[in-house]
């Protein structure tokens, strides 16, 4: 039995290592040909230009960064307060209905979010803000924020519900109001769970491709809130079909994959360090 468990654990780790290895091997040739500086800091992505193809991914890198940051700034506070409501303030029968409903939302496929975004959000943005086209970083940020809400709410609610009653009772006994108790006592006590929710949300926002492919516009411009933008993920998704095997374009797409992989690893490490590091303090 122990051998079986060890084998399964080993298999999971091995798969991850193989993926990482494949990404490195497939992604390095283009980076070497284009030059690391030009690749990471170049501002023009023109992969199929017949004479002089350019592979600068800075616009996509910054777009992924701002897009994920925007989604977190929009989604985490809303998610947090919703979770506080569900865990603490809501009448129990209502909470019993709402919690499974929120969990169900987490299971909606991202392409559905993309469709709703494309059909409803984008035209609405275009009309409201008088733009040539509604596909923009703003539309992508809104869609991403809605997508990370269910997972953030779910994890945060669980973390808040796990806070021992004694903490809250003690706080209330000392004269704090309920709201003060939830925000000053329960939330800090549930800090590691909330941090996990944020990390999950950021991970989902950084890795999303399908939904934002339909609402972001996909032109590799430097990011602007109302401009058409391309993320690292959509950069790969949109050109992979037509990139001929063995061509420099295809190798460059794998290089984007490698950069995305490293990027997500670094962001996760950073978040875990800052958010969870203060656990014992």
């Amino acid at each position: 039995m122990g051998v079986l468990l060890a084998a399964c654990a080993l298999a999971a780790v091995v798969f991850l290592l193989l993926i990482a290895l494949y990404l490195i091997l497939a992604g390095l040739p283009a980076i070497r040909k284009a030059g690391l500086g030009e690749f990471l800091l170049g501002t023009v992505w023109d992969s199929t230009n017949a004479e002089a193809p350019r592979f600068g991914i800075l616009p996509m890198l910054l777009t992924s960064l701002w897009g994920a940051a925007g989604a977190v700034v929009l989604g985490v506070p809303v998610g947090f307060f919703t979770a506080v409501y569900l865990a603490k303030a809501a009448p129990r029968p209502l909470a019993r209905v709402l919690r499974p409903a929120v969990s169900l939302l987490a299971g909606i496929p991202s392409v559905v979010y993309g469709l709703v975004g494309m059909c409803a959000l984008v035209p609405a943005l275009r009309a409201a803000l008088d733009l040539p086209a509604g596909d923009s970083l703003l539309a992508a940020v809104i869609v991403l924020a809605v997508m990370i809400l269910p997972s953030v709410i779910d994890l945060t609610t669980t973390a808040l519900e796990a806070v021992p009653r004694e903490y809250e009772e003690g706080s209330l006994a000392l004269g704090a109001t309920e709201a003060e108790t939830w925000l000053r006592v329960s939330a800090p006590a549930a800090r590691s769970g909330i941090a996990a929710a944020v990390v999950l949300g950021v991970g989902r926002a950084l890795g999303e491709a399908m939904a934002i492919l339909m609402v972001a516009g996909n032109v590799p411009n430097m990011p602007g809130l109302l401009r058409s933008v391309r993320f690292l993920t959509t950069g790969i998704a949109i050109e992979m079909n037509y990139a001929s095997p063995g061509s420099l374009q295809r190798q460059a797409l794998f290089s984007i994959g490698l950069v995305l992989f490293v990027f997500i690893l670094l962001v996760n490490l950073l978040l875990n360090r800052t958010l969870k590091g203060r656990k014992g303090a």
Binding site: M118, V122, G217, Y242, Q249
Partner: protein, 269 residues
């Protein structure tokens, strides 16, 4: 009368066997085709239809691009090369022979609310390169022009940009990953203009005439509509094509295949 009947009958049967384009159902072999990604849909229907006629023959298709397809055909790496553009003079000089099997048209589409009927090629190029930026410069109402297109490497985009003379100079507002997305987005944005293959431009969008020529099967076939390109199968002029490949090529050029072409959104020549 009766004495002549038998030889005449035998002659007729013989002639049927010689001149007929029906491949023997028992034919075996593999046909490798290589080239244009735009022809993927056409190849898919032809492969399936041919499999029903000759189950023993496997037709392979690999989408490596028109240029690579011609190279492969000339070097012998594949049996039949596929291109979605005319052969270049140097390719013909190296011994490439082209066989036209279908025509493809790129339609320019706008939102139905936009009162645009007709565009000259020159104005079309101006719109897509960003020289013309608002609809009132064209006299069709107000608003900025939102230029929609396909991703780099897409066959439709390459065809449109080459035919309109704007290759590598286009300034797109939005890029989409499929013709369906382009058409859907143009249908929901009054400011938008985009391009799509004729078969996909349906009722939700208005198809614009180019140089006063509407985009229909007839104008494409006659060559009046400028934004059209040929789908060619390329072979080596001096080398003998294998039996299975020959049969497939004949099938693709036959009237029977013409029926299948419309399924793939192409126009029979």
């Amino acid at each position: 009368m009766q004495k002549r009947f038998l030889p005449v009958l035998m002659l007729c049967l013989l002639l049927t066997g010689c001149g007929g384009r029906e491949p023997p159902a028992g034919l075996q072999g593999t046909v490798s085709t290589d080239g244009s990604t735009s022809m993927a849909d056409v190849m898919a229907v032809l492969q399936e239809a041919f499999r029903e006629k000759c189950p023993g023959v496997t037709v392979n298709y690999s989408g490596t691009g028109s240029g690579a397809g011609v190279e492969a055909a000339l070097s012998g790496a594949c049996d039949i090369g596929l291109t979605s553009r005319e052969l270049r003079p140097e390719e013909a000089a190296q011994g490439a022979a082209a066989h036209l099997i279908a025509l493809d048209a790129v339609a320019v589409v706008v939102n139905p609310c936009r009162p645009l009927e007709d565009l000259s090629l020159e104005r079309l190029a101006g719109i897509f390169t960003g020289r013309i930026t608002t609809w009132d410069q064209l006299g069709c109402g107000e608003g900025p022009i939102a230029v929609y297109g396909r991703e780099a490497g897409s066959g439709t985009r390459t065809a449109f940009e080459d035919l309109a003379g704007v290759a590598d100079r286009c300034a797109y507002t939005n890029i989409y990953g499929s013709t369906g997305d382009v058409v859907g987005s143009v249908a929901s944005n009054p400011n938008a203009i985009g391009y799509a293959s004729l078969a996909s431009a349906g009722e939700d969008v208005r198809t614009v005439k180019i140089g006063s020529v509407p985009c229909t099967e007839d104008t494409v076939r006659s060559g009046d509509y400028p934004l059209r390109r040929p789908f060619l199968m390329v072979t080596r002029r001096d080398a003998r094509l294998g039996e299975a490949a020959s049969a497939f090529l004949d099938f693709a050029r036959s009237g029977e295949a013409a029926g299948y072409l419309s399924l793939a959104g192409a126009i029979a020549p």
